[in-house]
Symmetry: C2
């Protein structure tokens, strides 16, 4: 089998023939029945479970090549439990409803001309990602479930892990007579990324998953339409009428429950009227998690007086900054108008929340904050396809076209206008 | 009033302050009630009707500056009838249903956390177009109706016409207390196009309307997400079981009814089994319209034998070519498989049709052709927002994200996830 060795992924001149094969294979995937597509994923789940040793053996050379102190090492690591998790996630995607073939509109035009607008597979989905091998299985599962072929461009540091996983995916495809090019893993040479980003004839959509640098590179260089699963600069605004116990719980949860993710708190915005009372109440819990605070002038004095240890004066760069760590900035405002202006200026339009006891102000916030997910009296940590009941997601879109917020199975489709006539011509 | 002179549009250093003002104004437009937004358009319709002379006077210097032999002159021309048409189109858009505030999903998550997914205005819509001043009114109407601000970058050759039209739009906005920056006409200096295409902080979507060159430029240079309203390379495939009278009527309609538009026929694909019988039947009507035919080898012999006068041998470039004129290419195929392959290879994925007497083959075509609109036994000329019952359109999208096919009012929105809690935190 020529596609199973990691060596094969570094020696091609051009990936165009691979993209062409994926495009051809996409027709086979699109024409599979809903049931067949589910069965392939169930087959693969079983295969993954029975191949734990092989998968861990494939992961080993990648782990060996990465220094222990590299923070990406945990993302690269596969364990038996994580492999079993992959199989479970395959079974969950298999159970999700088919997003294709939905009739969005049905209308009779002049003289009985029949118009339908239906959902259909996108075709070929390209995903560019970094060191997490589980993305390989997640993306393949979502794409196959929705009748799409996919092009996977994983990071160089995970190539041996991805090679083993794609080999298993190919075995399941072959068992159902589907061309293996339906899930194509690209060689990791950087030059091929440019080829992928300009292959408008073969690739219908490109989704970058990973660092801000990767996303910016894709945005600047892609001719293929992209979905940006961008950074989350998330604010929690504690308005003066807030229940301060609720506010403390939400702030702490949004910051410390999992700070490395995009929906975690970056900036706490708080009304001046309650700042002196509220901010010291955060001390015990934030200190326990060693949260470093970048405070504006007013809040600096309050935290200093309260004896908060990990305190710095905020610079302009600390607002609009995604920390992804036990760090946050704090801004004191005069009231809701200044809070809305601050958020409009610095938000990355991902997830924003207000804690308030005033329903009218809560609704004003929901109406006026321009973000994918806007909350009242809840932690921003809920922005997630699974939490929202949409199943697995490819990422959180921070742009406004096609998909905003969790980019899940139901958005891996396009629409198609179908017109059935009996010789109709336009007059 | 500083915004009414055409001179003002050529002297600014940077358009960023204009884009910033449009972004601020977009909040006012979004917060207008459905009824207010309609009323503004009705007010503008009346104002346009009563300003016919002023509008025609504004059009005159643009007309004077364009040579009579320029094919764009008809597009630039405003007449009393065309101005009345603009007012009518404003009244039609006013009547269309509000696309914002629709609840797409409503769900209770854990412990009573309330989730909604609703449609909301995009924010700021940028449109880059060429010489047609009616686009100014159409885009402003669709954007205001859907709660969006818009940035209009019309062609230099229409700047005086556009200046007068935007002055009237501003009068209607002022009458309702809406900031005039909600409809912002940009100076025509080319350097500002690059500023617009990279202003991701202020502009949410850019739609290029016009030549393929413009669309390619936008695709290559825009960091703002775009909707491509691309070229239409449209095929009509006459399958061997077709009713040949019906086929002739559809082919002739698709080619000659209005050849300058994107949904007109470019390539006729015909089964070899019927080519000798069918192609000569087209002679009278195509000849009457002086249609120039670029024929492949087989069809060349048939047309030559039939004495077709405007006949040339097709080169490879004549397939996949958008003619926008009384010209078409002809390809003879062995059957449906070869026809599908030809269309897959050369289609611009706009509009494709099959004429067939075999329902099974018709459904195969609908299922397998990858295009925005796919037809059986009807002319491709129906691909149009108005024809599809969607009202006015900004263009026909040939890409797969967000909007495919007619890009009408209902797609000038994004979605927003609204979450209402009572102190919910993630465990």
């Amino acid at each position: 089998m020529p596609s199973t060795s990691a060596q094969d992924y570094s020696i091609v001149e051009t990936i165009i023939p691979l993209l062409e094969a994926a495009r051809t294979a996409s027709v086979s995937v699109r024409n599979l029945s809903d049931q067949k597509r589910s069965e392939i994923l169930l087959h693969l789940a079983t295969l993954v479970e029975s191949s734990v040793n092989e998968i861990l053996a494939g992961n080993q050379p990648d782990l060996d090549a990465m220094p222990d102190e590299d923070p990406k090492k945990d993302r690269l690591l596969l364990t038996e439990a994580r492999v079993i998790g992959l199989a479970q996630s395959l079974r969950e995607v298999a159970k999700l409803p088919d997003p294709t073939g939905e009739i969005l509109l049905k209308r009779e035009l002049q003289d009985g001309l029949q118009l339908q607008n239906i959902t259909t597979a996108l075709g070929v989905v390209g995903v560019i990602y970094e060191s997490r091998p589980n993305v390989t299985i997640d993306v393949a599962a979502l794409c196959l479930r929705s009748g799409n072929a996919c092009i996977l461009r994983g990071g160089k540091e995970a190539i041996h892990s991805n090679t083993v996983l794609v080999k298993l995916i190919h075995q399941s495809l072959e068992a159902f007579g589907v061309p293996t090019a339906a899930v194509t893993l690209l060689p990791t040479d950087r030059k091929h990324v440019s080829e992928l980003l300009t292959a408008t004839r073969y690739v219908d959509i490109i989704i970058p998953r990973g660092s801000d640098g990767l996303i910016q590179f894709v945005r600047q260089n892609s001719l293929v339409p992209t979905i940006e699963t961008g950074a989350g600069v998330c604010h929690t605004y504690v308005e003066q009428s807030a229940d301060l116990t609720m506010a403390r719980e939400i702030v702490v949860n949004a910051k410390v429950q999992r700070p490395s993710v995009c929906n975690a708190l970056d900036t706490l915005v708080v009304d001046a009227a309650i700042a002196e009372k509220f901010l010291p109440q955060l001390k015990t819990e934030l200190e326990a998690h060693q949260v470093e605070i970048f405070a504006d002038e007013t809040s600096y004095k309050i935290f200093e007086k309260a004896g908060y240890p990990m305190l710095q004066k905020a610079t302009e760069e600390d607002f609009g900054r995604e920390f992804l760590d036990f760090k946050c900035s704090v801004k004191v405002v005069a009231g809701v108008d200044e809070a809305l202006n601050h958020i409009e200026k610095y938000s990355s339009r991902h997830s924003e929340t207000i804690v308030t006891g005033d329903e009218r102000i809560g609704e004003l916030f929901l109406q006026n904050v321009d973000a994918a997910a806007v909350y009242v009296n809840a932690s921003t940590r809920f922005t997630d396809g699974g939490q929202f009941g949409l199943g697995a997601e490819i990422g959180i879109s921070t742009q406004k076209l096609h998909a905003r917020g969790p980019f899940a199975l139901e958005k891996l489709v396009t629409e198609k206008w179908i017109v059935r006539g009996k010789g109709h011509i336009r007059k």
